[in-house]
């Protein structure tokens, strides 16, 4: 590594800003970044997958307890949050499209900020309404959980259900917070005019991450919120 100062153009030659020197060209960099994110998402699938597998096993063993617990979740907020997240995936896709189609930076920034707002809304609804209520109703294991008599014999395993609920949604929320940070960084970069129809790989790759987090929620929502049979037809069970 030479210490002699050299002009940027001379060093970078024809490479655009954002180019990383371990690569040969932008094409290789873009492909590597994309493959890297896909591989990372595979690890995330295995990570969440382990949790889902354990959840499925215990749900099979303790269905009554899981149903009791599920009925105590607030489906309205859960459904609203599902819509919010799907909306945020839409705005994310629009942000990527804006860059890809060479739209002005203000449009890119707008969609990115919208995505962040929707993400923040998701977290706000979850933490401020759902989790706060759960805390006051003594439904958080390890934080004053109270087993209710109306649960009957299944009561001993309802804490297990809520353990899964908080762990799975908490892990998901943590991924969303990280995604929030990534979006913030992207917004700053977009504001600085970094993205255009030639270079939008960070947006694309982060979009993959955001969509993944969305898809995890699409699985979590029915598995956690909708198993209580609250919408049962009359005469069935």
């Amino acid at each position: 590594m030479s210490e002699v100062p050299v002009s940027e153009m001379a060093m970078h030659g024809a490479h655009p800003p954002g180019f990383k020197h371990q690569f040969e060209d932008m094409e290789q960099q873009r492909e590597a970044g994309s493959l890297g994110m896909w591989v990372f998402l595979v690890t995330e699938i295995m990570f969440f997958g382990g949790l889902f597998a354990t959840y499925i096993i215990y749900r099979t063993l303790y269905l009554t307890a899981f149903e009791e617990g599920s009925r105590l979740l607030n489906v309205k907020f859960g459904a609203a949050n599902t819509a919010v997240l799907i909306g945020s995936s839409l705005t994310m896709a629009l942000a990527i499209h804006a860059a890809q189609a060479g739209k002005k930076k203000s449009e890119q920034v707008m969609y990115l900020v919208l995505t962040m707002i929707l993400g923040a809304l998701f977290l706000f609804l979850k933490f401020n309404y759902e989790w706060r209520a759960d805390y006051h109703e003594h439904l958080i294991p390890g934080f004053g959980f109270i087993i209710r008599p109306e649960w009957g014999a299944a009561g001993t395993h309802v804490p297990l259900y809520f353990c899964f609920y908080f762990f799975m949604t908490g892990l998901h929320a943590m991924h969303m917070i990280i995604g929030f940070g990534i979006l913030g960084t992207l917004t700053v970069m977009a504001q600085r005019n970094r993205f255009n129809s030639e270079y939008y790989a960070p947006l694309e790759v982060s979009g993959l991450y955001w969509h993944f987090v969305d898809i995890v929620w699409i699985f979590l929502f029915p598995l956690l919120y909708l198993i209580g049979g609250r919408f049962a037809l009359p005469g069935v069970h």
Partner: protein
């Protein structure tokens, strides 16, 4: 033309390109990161080794010679945790892999150099948590953390240890990710998949296991920690949990993990055998595909650790047949390495001695695996010293010897210096003898019925235990010798040229030590790997 030697002191290379602690702690150069790892895992090796020495000293007497049983239980636990998670799993991939993967494929660095540095920091943080657990009273659950002992009954530092292992897992995941992307996307022009060195195939297969397996142990340990904190009933049957579920989840990672520990060593083998017989590898395609086969099948055999847990005999059958299947690709490799020697031009340098020792000891360790894949014999041998001997033959007789062989082989490339060959060969011999004396008696002990993890034992097992402990002291000395002369050689060893072994491979076509950017110009590859018949030619 590489081969012109400019004295190392006056040539700029990755070691002297910049100075100062910050230039090392904030480096993104894969070669420097490899050395950061080398230092860290060597430290962990000697910590884990210290515990092993204490254990073997303790076991020279049936009633225990050294420590109380509670302490002994902590010693074997910490020996296992440190050796498995902080030495064996990262050893070759994080040191030799990090150093060589870009160089062998003609790239300037890995795909994500900053992620690579982050991997090292994550390893350090995980190690810090675990060492904290060691100092704050230790942990006594066994490296396998079986529940409900670990979730409910143990009064030791389970959570810090589990947290340390959990954190370090991410180091592996990111390293695996980096290798997969690098190998897919950054090969030099002309370097097709089937021209790759087999070390790269081995690193690729290992990375697949890193990526698919490690997240599962992460979740498992997290759930264990949660159970310990909140008493929920995930794994503790007294509150409705399933302790066998823990074992399934634990072994789902930990069995593939043992292939993480051996596949890189097999990759090193292919490099050493070809160089020191000066011949193309026999059966390149078979060796390459066997690495992938091992990686894939390794995910299907975890139940063979659980044959005596009361699982259904049909589950036992399935895991048994798959466990036999996973042995076949390993056998194929051993035969191909041996065939490579045929009509070669063989030299007895230290790396080759390690390689040949590996082949024999790995063969024996692998074949003793057949005893354990066989349901009827596994019933008798499970939980005994036979298991301990089996896995040490593969991990120590195999993986550690491959690691040492690789370190010696690439030492001149990494440091620009040569180590004293006489001492190296002597150490290899001491290690070989010490190793066999330590672990062969343990096969007999296991067959006789001595269970493992015993702080005290019936007197009739004493002679074999003393033999094993005698071997361990020889082995310990054997490991200290390279530590000394390798460190010595950094300063006082003779300067090494770019290719002291006359090996084929892109890494040997750079100066020793290489410049930071590895290659002035990215090479264009026109030949197969190990093209030793092409005398004096390079790969470009």
């Amino acid at each position: 033309m590489p081969g012109q030697e400019i004295p190392a002191e006056s040539r700029v290379n990755y070691l002297n390109a910049s100075y100062g602690v910050k230039s090392w702690l904030l480096t993104t150069d894969h070669k420097r990161i490899a050395l950061l790892y080398l230092g860290s895992i060597t430290l962990m090796f000697f910590v884990g080794g210290f515990f092993a020495v204490m254990m073997r000293l303790h076991l020279i007497e049936p009633q225990g010679a050294l420590v109380a049983p509670e302490t002994y239980n902590k010693l074997f636990t910490m020996h296992g945790v440190i050796m498995v998670f902080f030495f064996l799993v990262p050893s070759i991939p994080a040191t030799l892999g990090n150093f060589l993967v870009p160089m062998m494929i003609g790239a300037r660095d890995l795909a994500f150099p900053r992620l690579n540095l982050l991997s090292w920091y994550i390893y350090i943080i995980g190690a810090a948590f675990t060492l904290y657990a060691v100092i704050s009273g230790g942990v006594d659950t066994g490296w396998t953390f079986y529940t409900p002992y670990s979730s409910t009954f143990s009064h030791t530092s389970v959570i810090p240890t589990a947290l340390g292992v959990f954190i370090t897992g991410f180091s592996s995941i990111l390293t695996g990710l980096n290798f997969v992307v690098t190998i897919h996307k950054m090969r030099a022009p002309g370097l097709t998949w089937f021209r790759l060195p087999l070390f790269i195939w081995a690193m690729y297969a290992t990375s697949i296991i890193f990526i698919l397996g490690t997240p599962v142990i992460a979740i498992t340990l997290f759930l264990l920690g949660l159970e310990r904190l909140l008493h929920i009933g995930i794994f503790d049957p007294a509150i409705g949990g399933d302790p066998i579920l823990f074992q399934h989840m634990f072994w789902f990672y930990s069995h593939p993990a043992v292939y993480i520990m051996i596949l890189p060593g097999m990759g090193v083998m292919s490099e050493l055998i070809t160089c020191f017989s000066r011949k193309r590898i026999f059966g390149y395609t078979f060796v390459a595909f066997s690495s992938l086969a091992i990686a894939i099948i390794s995910f299907l055999v975890w139940g063979h650790h659980m044959f005596v847990t009361g699982q259904s005999i049909y589950a036992g059958l399935i895991f048994s047949v798959l466990s036999f299947l996973v042995a076949i690709p390993s056998a194929v490799k051993v035969f191909n390495w041996t065939a490579t020697l045929y009509k070669g031009s063989i030299s007895y340098d230290a790396p080759m001695l390690y390689a040949l020792g590996f082949i024999g000891l790995f063969t024996m360790g692998g074949l003793t695996g057949l005893f354990l894949a066989s349901l009827a014999t596994d019933v008798h041998l499970s939980g005994t010293y036979f298991i301990v001997a089996h896995f040490h033959y593969i991990m120590v007789g195999g993986a550690v010897m491959a690691y040492l062989g690789g370190i010696h082989f690439w030492w001149p490339k990494i440091t620009g210096r040569m180590y004293p060959d006489g001492w190296a060969r002597f150490a290899a011999l001491v290690i070989f003898v010490g190793f066999n004396l330590t672990f062969f008696p343990q096969f007999v002990l296991g067959y006789l019925g001595m269970p493992r993890r015993y702080a005290v034992y019936p007197g009739e097992f004493q002679v074999l235990n003393v033999m094993s402990s005698a071997g361990a002291s020889i082995l310990g000395i054997g490991y200290l010798i390279p530590l000394i002369y390798l460190l010595w050689s950094i300063r006082y060893g003779p300067i090494a040229g770019p290719n002291p072994w006359g090996a084929k491979g892109l890494e040997w076509e750079t100066p020793s030590p290489p410049p930071t950017e590895n290659f002035e110009e990215i090479p264009v590859v026109t030949q197969d790997a190990y093209d030793y018949a092409n005398v004096g030619g390079s790969r470009v």
